[in-house]
Amino acid sequence: MFDQIVFFVIAAIILVFSVLTVTSRKILRAAVYLLFVLIATAVLYFMMNYNFLAAVQLTVYAGGIVVLIIFSILLTSHISEHAKMAPLKQSLLSALATIAGAMLTLMVILNFVFVPNTTPVAEQTVNDVGLALVSYQREGFALPFEVISILLLASLIGAIVVAKKEKLILPGKEEISENAENDSAQ
């Protein structure tokens, strides 16, 4: 019973704040509302006993991405600038498409009878999660782990190169970069 109340509160927070995020006129407020949504999601994960995942959500999503977003907002616009809203036609059409899609999906989901697993299972600790992460057995996730590390490396380099103002100067390789700059300028 207590669970249900908590769950409904969390659900209400999530929905209300996500609506506010997408409809708010002030950008910084939208970012803050997003933060609340992400924190509520972390609480939901806690309720499901996925502690590690909730922690990751809080650190990376709420702590990293939202901060990054706020930085970029501050870099690119006046802090109290009002965002322009879309014309009425666009809003109505997208609302229509969205509602249609939502109705459809809900219809499909609710018609299907899910059979939840009732057998009690041992709780997963962080230890188990960690071991599974680096295990290369059949049940292990070493491959996705390596792949995601490469992805992060690539995005790191990409972000630096894209956002840099001057051209990239490698020590001892000025000529090559200059040629590349000349080629791209042509």
Partner: protein, 638 residues
């Protein structure tokens, strides 16, 4: 029996030289091009003479007739089992005779043109076209089947078109070449219909099978009838229509006078000696089918020939352009040949008309080519075509004068020149068949002598016309062919055509029928005398006669207004009522459809290019809506 496979070279050598001269002629000096063309044709001429000697003399077993030999044949297009088009070479008395005629006259024209066309910018082109024409004509006479003949028939038409319009900067020449091509093409429509009808009903294209008296072609003559005449007769009439177009028979003759716009050597080669006799050759080639299977068609041939010869002779009496006079004379003489074929029957002495027609073809080629080449020499000296600008030329152009006179005497039918022999045989054949036709031909013989000598006296006698610069005799390269042709026209009459070229291949006895010969010679002499009285010295008699017979003179001078009739029919009737609606249809409906498709495409693309607006949110919206729709479809119909 010699192997006649080498006869395939006779048309192929000019073809090779046509390609050579056509592609590279402009790079070489003109005289080189001329000599190359002449050499090529010289080789063909030598091969033709060898063939003639082989066929008529060496291979001839005394007492038997001449058979047609299929020297070469190869499959060209195999369409179905019943329809195969072959090409090859057929050796036969008339084809060998035509080989000799064509190559001889063509060689003379080649040599003559070395002098006549000197200095012309299109010298190499001229020789290329002459070679093309020689190839086409030789291929036509060597054809083994009627389809091959049709192919070369069209090629001859094309060569004629190219050569008549040789001076393509002159609008009149271009118009004349168009007219010639269109009229002969229209006639060839009839020819094609005839070919298709004939081959469909008899099941074969091949000449040897068609003319075989015991063969399937003639056995089927009792076939279905239409409007009182059998299918075979109808098909032969259509085939004759093609021949009539090419041979300038009335009413398809309108192109021949205008074709004189071409250079004079061309007129000599094509429109006197070779191409215009293609129609006669066609009827001769299919003569057994005509005589045994479709005698009604043969009547039509005879009457058309007779009428044309009279018609042309009357017009020739009034023309002042010397080449036009010769053109109408050609038309008249070919009418003689057609008439002779028309009154002939098949076999032995009955086939006298056939033999006479071919004989006259041979001699006519000689003297008509001589007349045209002589006219060319005159035009070359005087720089004008019109009789009024000439007179008293016999002092200035002696060789031309003598050869021209020989030709005039020959055409008038005075013995012992060749014209007498061939024309006499025709008159005998006509007399035995139809008295009315004989009377027409008898009259035309007199008219022929009259207008030819009118031409002769107007050019070579009469007042001493004042010339801007003295006319000089043509160079040797032009007079030597004249002399060779004069020799031929004098002595060709002694060739034993009654042994060599007959309707069924067997020789028959032929002698001079004095009852016909003497009157024909007399009327020729009468014509000459009348012309002498009127034209030898300048008199006022011709002008007075013209005013007395004002209407007849006017009608004859304007060629009986046939051209105007044709123009009226094409312009007022065909253009307005048939061509204009079809052109409207083509422009508005067919082009309109294409333009409409393009216009609609452009309109639609202009209006849907907004989909590519560059706005990401629009793309996402379309994406989401599309997915929703697809899911709806899947959920609803699964």
């Amino acid at each position: 029996m010699t192997n006649y496979t080498y006869t395939l070279l006779i048309p192929l050598i000019p073809l090779v030289f046509f390609l050579l001269l056509g592609l590279t002629g402009h790079k070489m000096k003109p005289i080189v091009a001329g000599l190359i063309g002449t050499t090529g044709l010289g080789i063909s001429a030598i091969l033709s003479y060898i063939t003639a000697i082989n066929y008529f003399i060496i291979d001839h077993v005394a007492g038997t007739g001449f058979t047609s030999i299929k020297a070469v044949e190869f499959n060209w297009l195999h369409l179905t089992d019943k329809l195969t088009i072959t090409l090859g070479s057929l050796i036969d008395p008339i084809s060998v005779m035509m080989l000799v005629v064509i190559t001889t006259v063509s060689l003379m024209v080649h040599i003559y043109s070395l002098g006549y066309m000197k200095g012309d910018t299109g010298f190499a082109r001229f020789y290329a076209f002459l070679s093309l024409f020689s190839f086409s004509m030789l291929g036509l006479v060597l054809a083994t089947n009627i389809f091959q003949m049709y192919i070369f028939w069209e090629l001859v038409g094309v060569s004629s078109f190219l050569l008549i319009g040789f001076y393509y900067e002159k609008p009149s020449a271009v118009a004349a070449s168009k007219k010639a091509f269109i009229v002969t093409r229209f006639a060839d429509l009839g020819f094609l219909i005839g070919i298709l009808m004939l081959s469909f009903n008899t099941g074969t294209f091949d000449f040897q099978m068609l003319v075989d008296p015991a063969g399937p072609a003639l056995a089927s003559k009792g076939g279905a009838a239409f409007m009182g005449m059998s299918v075979l007769t109808w098909s032969m009439i259509f085939i004759f229509m093609g021949g009539a177009g090419k041979s300038a028979m009335f009413p398809l003759h309108i192109w021949l006078p205008d074709a004189m716009e071409g250079p004079t050597p061309v007129s000599a080669l094509i429109h006197a000696a070779t191409m215009v006799v293609a129609g006669v050759y066609l009827v001769a080639r299919l003569f057994p089918v005509y005589a045994l299977g479709a005698p009604d068609a043969l009547h039509i041939v005879a009457w058309v020939g007779g009428f044309t010869s009279l018609f042309a002779a009357v017009i020739a009496c009034t023309q002042t352009d010397i080449k036009r006079v010769l053109a109408f004379s050609t038309m008249s003489q070919i009418g003689y040949m057609m008439l002779s074929l028309g009154v002939s029957s098949y076999g032995g002495h009955e086939g006298l008309g056939f033999m006479a027609a071919n004989f006259h073809l041979f001699t006519h080629a000689m003297f008509k080519a001589l007349l045209f080449l002589g006219a060319g020499a005159i035009i070359h000296a005087v720089h004008s075509n019109d009789m009024k600008d000439m007179g008293g030329l016999r002092k200035h152009l002696p060789i031309t004068h003598i050869t021209f006179l020989i030709a005039c005497i020959t055409i008038a039918g005075i013995p012992p020149f060749s014209g007498f022999f061939s024309k006499d045989e025709i008159l005998v054949a006509a007399l035995h068949s139809n008295k009315f036709l004989f009377a027409i031909e008898f009259l035309v013989a007199g008219l022929t002598a009259f207008y030819m000598f009118r031409l002769y006296y107007n050019i070579f006698w009469g007042k001493n016309t004042h010339y801007h610069h003295t006319p000089h005799e043509a160079p040797k390269v032009m007079t030597i062919p004249l002399m060779i042709l004069a020799f031929g026209s004098v002595f060709a009459g002694f060739l034993p055509f009654n042994e060599w070229v007959t309707s069924d291949g067997l020789a028959f006895e032929s002698h001079i029928d004095w009852a016909v010969a003497i009157p024909s010679v007399l009327i020729g002499i009468v014509g000459i005398v009348v012309a002498t009285i009127l034209y030898k010295n300048e008199t006022a008699i011709p002008a007075k006669m013209a005013t007395n017979f004002k209407h007849l003179y006017k009608w004859a001078y304007h060629k009986f207004y046939i051209d105007e009739v044709y123009l009226f029919v094409t312009k007022k009737i065909i253009f307005q009522f048939i061509s204009a609606p079809i052109a409207w249809f083509d422009r508005h409906i067919i082009d309109g459809t294409m333009n409409g498709i393009a216009g609609v495409t452009q309109y639609v693309s202009y209006h849907i290019r907004g989909l590519q607006s560059g706005k990401v949110q629009q793309y996402a919206f379309v994406f989401v809506s599309g997915v929703v729709l697809l899911v709806v479809l899947f959920v609803a119909f699964m």
